[in-house]
Symmetry: C2
Subunit: 197 residues, 2 copies
């Protein structure tokens, strides 16, 4: 990697948790200058605008998050059966904190950008789509393998898992304790058991 | 109401959807001046700071929301039985749009303020507490009336309902359709039916 690329990557990595905690509008160029130790000109040498940096920072945060939750989650892949895989995915979300300060970047950006920045909104939508598609695939495989009841709607299960986990994280962060996350795991475990054929 | 009070209340009502859509940091004094048609001095005559106005605007948005969902929800109160009341509460959330532009003020402020403004964060926490307490009370009444299974944890049910609804609203707003909300209603209906003694 060239020096310029190293600097660019460092700016992205340092900016990601700041955007994740403060939102796009809540994060000023001044904040980014302080965090990176660069002057405004230094930042603009690598990024055309605050928006371009925010987009790259969110892509980086999203990749870390998706990796932590699903992609490189060998634990999930190696779990036996579809219900076992979904159970492990839920467990990972509940037990493993967000890989980036400020909570789930998906939820933060979804809420921050739903009335705002269309590029960030579109990236957040992609993130939810990838996560839900992974769950749908596991459910479909489970139905094909006769482990999960025929007629189970994979999208309903995907929506239930994502909504329960993200909503519970919101409550947990607000209340400052893990009760809502622990409850989410119990609630989803009951749902998963009811999927079994 | 005196003229000053009328103006103050009008500023709150006009500002509430702007804060709800853009967040605290994303809403500038300029935005508020344009929306209210007042000069900066006019706004500061009624509110000491942007924070004071944001707090009053959020209190107003929260009251509208809580009223729409639980307090004045005579439909909920008049539904027969605990499970009927909870079912109606879920249905109202799914069918009745947020009374204020920009989605659920509770979720918006929870996510906006979790790393940010402590006053707004504390108000959001109160809002979740009131909503969950209402659900807990209904579950406890249901257990006492032998309608709901003994040993049911009211807080787990409250967390499941609030998390599923809020998380589904996040997904629905991101995807621009109602599928996740409709799925939330089905998922919660299954959970409610399983509570019956």
């Amino acid at each position: 990697m060239k020096k310029g690329e190293v600097t660019r990557q460092r700016i992205i990595e340092v900016s990601a948790p700041i955007f994740n905690q403060r939102g796009f509008a809540g994060c000023s160029m001044q904040d980014l200058m302080e965090a990176t130790g660069l002057e405004k000109g230094g930042l603009y040498r690598h990024f055309e605008s605050k928006e371009e940096l925010a987009v790259e920072a969110f892509k980086y945060a999203l990749k870390l998050t998706i990796d932590a939750r699903i992609s490189s989650a060998q634990e999930v892949e190696s779990s036996a059966g579809a219900i076992g895989k979904l159970r492990r995915m839920v467990e990972r979300f509940v037990k493993v904190p967000s890989p980036i300060a400020g909570g789930c970047p998906l939820m933060n950006t979804a809420v921050d950008a739903d009335d705002g920045n269309p590029k960030l909104r579109s990236l957040a939508r992609d993130g939810v789509r990838v996560w839900k598609a992974k769950i749908c695939k596991i459910v479909e495989d489970g139905v094909a393998a006769r482990e999960i009841k025929k007629g189970t709607d994979p999208r309903r299960i995907a929506n239930a898992i994502v909504a329960t986990l993200e909503g519970s994280l919101m409550i947990s962060r607000l209340e400052g304790n893990r009760e809502a996350m622990a409850n989410a795991q119990e609630t989803l475990e009951t749902m998963l058991q009811a999927l079994a054929r």
